[in-house]
């Protein structure tokens, strides 16, 4: 059973055709990022840095809890990827 992923609105104009919400077969947050990268090359670089880790001002929530790349995903989990409130 796939997980349900919501992408940040500010990301979408960078990858024409990418939807706000999609279903992905993945058992960790890292695997979600892998799939996004395959479908839209370059997308992982926007969400993750080279440490590797989720970027400092990007948050990923899984079932309402803040997650890391290593966070496991249960079948059907809701994965929200959001931009932090930052800037000026």
């Amino acid at each position: 059973m796939p997980v349900h992923v919501t992408l940040p609105a500010a990301l979408l104009p960078l990858f024409p055709g990418a939807p706000r919400e999609l279903e992905i077969e993945a058992s960790t947050v890292a695997a979600v990022m892998e799939t996004l990268e395959v479908r839209w090359p370059g997308m992982r670089d926007r969400l993750c840095d080279s440490r590797p880790a989720i970027r400092r001002h990007i948050n990923v929530f899984v079932e309402g809890q803040r997650a890391s790349l290593e966070t496991p995903l249960a079948p059907g989990a809701a994965v929200f990827i959001v931009t932090a409130i930052s800037g000026g």
Binding site: P8, A10, L11, P13, L14, P41, G42, D45, R46, L47, D49, S50, R51, P52, R55, H57, I58, T83, A84, S86, G87
Partner: protein, 359 residues
């Protein structure tokens, strides 16, 4: 052939483009690059392709690319990394193109090269392998590689300016590097350490037209000229109102002509001296300076200009342009003799470059 002049205006909130057929009436368009902070944008003079380098707090560094004069854009950061476990790259700060090869300077300081028009990048490892690297100190804007000069005939010869590590030079395409800071001061150091081998706070580095070994640098601590590719620097501060400022711009053809925009001092507010805006021009390599004020605000102008926000075009007479950190864009069609504000309400202007295209 009639020329259309384009100004590539990098701002904190995207890239803007100003265009004019006569350098009098300007039309502004943008913002582009999804309003990302754009630290530097250039055009490949051979193809007209525009590249814009920057970084977004959410999404990291990227180089944007447009092959249709800004109408549509793609972006990439593939390969812009020091690898796992190393500090992530925050932003692209400087771009240069020579013979189809694109170069990018980044924060934290390092140099990257692309041979496929910015689609993928490879790290020029030699610079960060330099033994002085662990001792480089970040300046106010970060540890940024902000100045990037490639020799016009020999692309193996590259000069970079890093704040606040100083000027570094390679003669072998980036494999080995040497500091080139002899004669430039570090006034903030203890008295007996003011002329170190590296660690000077270079603010901008430019090359004289037609004489690649004549370099100028505006430094945190002085204004300098080198006539031997940076091996030795001499002060050219006499006649200037201040030793402090950020940008410098070379004339497009006249080897001896240089433009500056001095600020009042590093602990004096960092705005134009006496709150009166003036561009300084030298016609003799910095021996004498002339303040150019016609059309520029001369009262209550608490204006700063950032390191990459002064540029010249290639027309005759040369146009000169600067953008302020308050978002005003000024243009002179006559080598600085007269000025006009052509865009008063832009975001913080970080960089300016020019492009002339046939119309």
């Amino acid at each position: 052939m009639a020329q259309q002049t384009m100004l590539l205006i990098g701002t904190r909130k995207g890239l803007f483009i100003a265009e004019s057929a006569d350098r009098s009436d300007w039309a502004l368009r943008g913002p582009y690059c999804e309003t990302w902070p754009v630290n530097h944008a250039i055009a490949d003079p051979k193809t007209g392709t525009i590249y814009a380098g920057g970084g977004n707090e959410w999404f990291g560094p990227a180089v944007w690319k447009s092959t249709d004069q800004g109408k549509s854009w793609t972006h990439s950061s593939a390969g812009l990394t020091y690898g796992e476990g190393e500090p992530p790259i925050k932003a692209v700060w400087s771009l240069a193109v020579r013979d189809g090869v694109l170069y990018a300077g980044v924060d934290p300081a390092g140099l990257f090269r692309s041979t496929d028009g910015g689609e993928t990048w490879e790290h020029v490892q030699g610079l960060r392998d330099h033994p002085t690297r662990p001792h480089w100190m970040a300046g106010g804007a970060g540890l940024i590689l902000h100045s990037l000069l490639v020799h016009p005939e020999d692309a193996n010869r590259i000069w970079v300016g890093i704040s606040s590590a100083g000027v570094f030079y390679t003669g072998d395409g980036g494999k080995s590097w040497e500091p080139r800071n002899k004669g430039t001061r570090a006034d903030y150091n203890p008295e007996d350490q003011r002329y170190p081998e590296f660690g000077q706070c270079v603010h901008s580095l430019v090359m004289a037209a037609g004489e690649p070994d004549i370099l100028y640098q505006q430094n945190h601590c002085g204004m300098y000229r080198s006539e031997d590719g940076g091996q030795n620097w001499i002060s050219i501060e006499p006649g200037l109102p201040s030793s402090f400022g950020f940008p410098a711009a070379a004339h497009p053809r006249d080897t001896d002509t240089l433009f500056l925009l001095p600020l009042n001092g590093d602990i004096a507010g960092r705005y134009v001296p006496d709150a009166k805006v003036a561009v300084y021009r030298s016609r003799d390599r910095g021996r004498n300076w002339q303040a150019l004020r016609t059309g520029l605000p001369q009262e209550n102008a608490f204006v700063g200009v950032l390191r990459q926000a002064l540029a010249t075009d290639r027309l005759e007479p040369a146009g000169v342009y600067f953008g302020t950190s308050g978002g005003q864009l000024y243009a002179s069609p006559d080598e600085g003799d007269s000025w006009r504000c052509v865009a008063p309400h832009l975001p913080v202007i970080v960089s300016l470059e020019t492009l002339s295209v046939p119309r």
